[in-house]
């Protein structure tokens, strides 16, 4: 078989494999297997130290998990259920800080840090280029 032909076939196989992966992920159900548990990890156990109700064995947390499971069974949405707890316990009950108000900075700071880092790296590059000596070690050493 000529080399060109072989390359084409290898390329096709690679693309086919990639397609299987992409399609598989796309058609797969990405929502959590267990909604109650996913929600439970976003609600803080009020009597523990920073634990989610899904992780805590305490009675309060167990009772709250039961409420979550009940509301999931009733078909309420995630937002409705979280709002139910927020209304009763305040913002502090949510382990997943909202993108507004006091916790806005929490989300913006990491973005700012990434931006600052990228700018810093790009500025280092834009300075006068020193021509790298053409060295033989750059090639594939195999």
């Amino acid at each position: 078989m000529p080399d060109g032909m072989r390359g084409v076939i290898a390329g096709l196989i690679t693309v086919a494999l990639a397609a299987i992966v992409v399609v598989g992920i796309a058609v797969g159900d990405q929502s959590p297997q267990n909604r109650a548990q996913a929600l439970g990890s976003r609600i803080k156990c009020p009597v523990c130290q920073g634990e989610a109700i899904v992780d805590s064995p305490s009675e309060t947390a167990t009772a709250m998990m039961e409420i979550v499971a009940e509301q999931v069974d009733q078909g309420r949405t995630d937002d409705q259920i979280l709002e139910f707890f927020r209304a009763r316990y305040g913002d502090g009950i949510l382990l997943d800080p909202p993108f507004r108000g006091r916790t806005l900075a929490l989300w913006l700071l990491p973005v700012g840090a990434v931006a600052a880092g990228i700018i810093l790296i790009l500025r280092r590059r834009q300075s006068p280029l020193v021509e790298a000596p053409a060295s033989p070690e750059l090639g594939e050493p195999t």
């Binding site: 267990n34 803080k44 992780d55 502090g92 997943d96 800080p97 195999t142």
Partner: protein
Amino acid sequence: MTALLGYFGILLALVSAVALGLLGLRGVRDAERVNAASLRNAVIGLVAGGALAMLALEVGLLADDFSVAYIADNSATTTPFFYKVATAWAALEGSIVLWGLVLAVFTLTIYLRYYRSRQPDPLWIGALGVMGLISVFFFGIMATIANPFQVCVEAATTGCFASSNLPWAASMAPLQGLGPNPLLQNHPLMAVHPPLLYVGYVGMSVPFAFAISALIRGESGDAWLRRTRSWTLVAWSFLTAGIVIGGLWSYEVLGWGGYWAWDPVENASFMPWLVATAFIHSSVVQERRGMLQAWNFVLVIATFSLTILGTFLTRSGVIASVHSFTQSPIGPALLWFLTLVLVGSLSLFATRVHLVASSPRLNSLASREGVFLFNNLLLTVFAFVVLIGTLYPMFVEAFTGSQLGVGRPFFDRLAIPLSFALLLAMGLGPITPYRAARASVVWERIRTPLRVALAVGAGAVLLGYRNIYVVLGVLTGTFIIGVIVRQLWASARRAAANEGTPVWRSVGRVMRSDPGYWGGQIAHVGVAILAMGIAISANQGVESQLTLEPGQTAEFAGHELTYVTDFSRQEPNRSVLGARVEVRRQSKVVAVLEPSLNQYARSNQPVASPAVDTSLRGDLYLSLTSIGGDRISLDVFWFPFVWLIWFGGLLAAAGGLYPRMVRKRSAVPAQAREANQDA
């Protein structure tokens, strides 16, 4: 007697530390101004004092000397031998004794290597001086506000009611001590975890000490980096192992089925790990290409500061409540020390950086240096995310009084994309040439691994795995490992062709010829395996609650669980109440698990002790939530491939130690190493 001896040790170490600090300050300019014998005596005094303090504490613990308040409050006659030994570092004051001893031993290793070089070098003397100054702080708080040898002057029925800081005070020992915290005597890993972590934490003060010494001297170049490389790697390996073992302990003891909760104590150890990892990578860039000189100083200062911040977070009570950390004077002391370290080292850096750093610029982003920069950006941003996620709620509570929850969802949301980007950099970085990489060269090196990884990913999809994290995690992990294996194979084939030996025999020689590079690749393989373990077990796990009566059987994740009977057992330090559960797979008994509730004298709440059946396919994890009235309630979990996490994590730690193990065995000619530099 124990108290007197131990306290004498602390004072000896403190005085020696002060002397070492002064000698260092004097010798950092001119090594000739320091008397060799004084330097030696200061180091010996420090180590002897630290060792004496630890020895006294251990002897006191083993001899049940409850006249020492720490022992009365944290140990008991019924405590098993093993846990008595471990109690020396189980509580605050004792943990600082361990910290001090480790610091002294690291100082000794610096001194010994300096002594063997037989050349006066002010850089080393300055570094020893900085180690001395750090020791002054730790032995200073041991001598004052965190004295582990406080004497019990008024005994309670069990434990100590009132204590005195003066070791010669007339003591009144209680008949029985309180015993260790139940959670800490429920599993042997708790004895191993803190020492590993402390060697990791404290080891990071060695590169810090050399960096400060180089800054004071205004010494440019990478001498400070090269000299401290092996210490940094050892510290990194121990820190890695400490974090992994901590996760394993949490999994085996706490009974919630998890190993990582993003709680502040865990974050406290993870932040220095992230920055230290960035430092290890960027120091390679400086050694190879002379770049990032100033950045490396920033990273090493940040790493050391984060270890102090970590100690503050773990030991001050600030986590329980922002307002409680001033209840013990140790919190503010650590905070002051942290401030001093930050202000001192950063202002030193700001005034000296022009002397020590003059980096060449980057030629092209598409190069090994470029990937290293990307890696550094990701790791430091990651550390920053963990830092603000941990501190933000504390600040909000301190200033506004209102509580704010920042937990797993926040961290996961940011950590997952960052981790995938890091894995990508890990796959490409090690095979990208320095200076400027031609796409064809990189493609040649990743072509086959990429196809293998895609095939594995497609295989996972066809087997029915559709979760994006599982599929991408397995695909990326396979890719990273594939690239490394291909690189090793290609190098071995080249070496074999040169020498006419079989390829497989060249593999070991190739790895030994460049231990730094291949140690790094071992660590990368470990991290890739760890990442796959996390992705699979976190997304393919199954959980259920079961209530069973004796003889009753329930079906769970391909297993049949039969509750056989309850049992109870009286042990010297605890009473154990548990359930015997038979596990069948395809009607064959594969395990008998005994999850239990352990009641310790010290606490009213029993500690749930989960039982785990580990196999290659995964862990069956049973946690008893209630027992009695002829029935039990169980939390049951099935986690596939959890062992990948522990195995990968420990392999990563071993990668950090690999260069040291190789160099110990054979002196490698520099020539052999050059051959692989472009690899």
